[in-house]
């Protein structure tokens, strides 16, 4: 191929030298659905107020209101009568959280963790299914999932130092040649946990975004609901369960003598 063709191509306006072309954060975010609603400059950095923050605020308020309503239902419940529908749902959810926590972390330590595990499960579940209600799921933003995984990381190491004392450090050098692999394994735990949740939710968001933007309006009447059920409800519930399950498994590994 002669260089004339390439020269002609580049002469038509595609010219440009290789190298890092600066791309603003606004442009990257808008491509994957994060809109910016203003920014603040603090300490020389630019902080954006994005749709993730708005969705997070809405979800936190919704979960708080649901918790207050549940508290009200529990207070007004009649211990000798038939439980109503709301009471049955609350008992099912609390019973599920208690069961999984006690069976995965043991009878001795389960009670101390069920509050945190329940909060985590409800927050991730409502975040993942918020795509149904027209929000952009906050867990499709890497900042949110990485923060959740870092909380797990600190809980793992706090309990490691609490229950295994100095063996938590010396365990890293157990077979001396494998020291680098042990250290990489510890560091990769939060990264793989956060990327798993982020990748699953972002995958659903991108596929639904492609569907809604590429097809004409009259082809989008009823059937995208089935895809919402799969990508938002089913996948979201599974991923919330998996994230809390992995947290429980990793934390309960530190209890062993």
């Amino acid at each position: 191929m002669g260089s004339d063709v390439l020269l002609a191509l580049s002469a038509r306006g595609f010219g440009g030298l290789p190298g890092v072309v600066s791309q603003s954060n606004d442009a990257i975010g808008e491509k994957i659905g994060i809109n910016s609603y203003g920014s603040v400059t603090l300490f020389g950095y630019r902080f954006y107020f994005t749709s993730t923050h708005i969705a997070l605020l809405i979800i936190v308020i919704a979960v708080t209101v649901l918790a207050l309503l549940a508290n009200r239902v529990i207070r007004k419940a009649d211990p000798y009568g038939k439980p109503g529908m709301a009471m049955t749902i609350i008992e099912t959810v609390v019973g599920f959280i208690d069961n999984t926590t006690y069976s995965n972390m043991g009878e001795k330590h389960g009670g101390a963790f069920r509050n945190y595990i329940g909060t985590l499960l409800l927050f991730i579940f409502f975040s993942n299914i918020s795509g149904v209600f027209g929000l952009r799921p906050p867990t499709a933003d890497y900042g949110v999932t990485f923060g959740l995984a870092m909380i797990t990381f600190f809980i793992i190491h706090y309990n490691g130092f609490k229950y295994q004392k100095i063996k938590h450090i010396t365990g890293l050098f157990d077979p001396i040649p494998l020291t680098p692999i042990n250290i990489i394994g510890e560091i990769s735990t939060p990264i793989s946990m956060s990327l798993r949740l982020f990748g699953n939710v972002l995958c659903g968001t991108v596929i639904m975004g492609l569907l809604y933007n590429l097809l004409p309006k009259f082809l989008l009447l009823f059937w995208p609901g089935a895809l919402h059920v799969y990508f938002d409800l089913f996948s979201g519930a599974i991923q919330a369960y998996v994230f809390t399950m992995l947290t429980m498994v990793f934390v309960s590994k530190t209890f062993e003598e």
Partner: protein, 84 residues
């Protein structure tokens, strides 16, 4: 060099994203194998259905990680590519 213009880099990034998604084969095979073994275990011992389900879903989620890494590489190549 005029070869490395923007359109060329974008096209190559799209091809690279497509090649990266071949990694989706591995988790598919692994998850199918886990689901098959889980079904066999439930068939052998229907009483242990809940435990088998939990273990199977946890194993499948861990097996899914490599596929999700390839998905993230593909999304980074297409949306956040610093060279295109």
């Amino acid at each position: 060099m005029e070869i490395f213009n923007k359109a060329f880099v974008q096209g190559c990034s799209a091809i690279g994203a497509g090649i990266a998604m071949i990694a989706g084969l591995g988790p598919g095979i692994g998850q199918g194998y886990a689901a098959g073994q889980g079904a066999a275990a439930v068939g052998r011992n229907p009483g242990a259905r809940g435990t088998v389900m939990g273990t199977m879903i946890l194993g499948q989620a861990v097996a899914e990680t490599t596929g999700l890494y390839s998905l993230i590489v593909a999304i980074l190549l297409i949306f956040v590519n610093p060279w295109a």
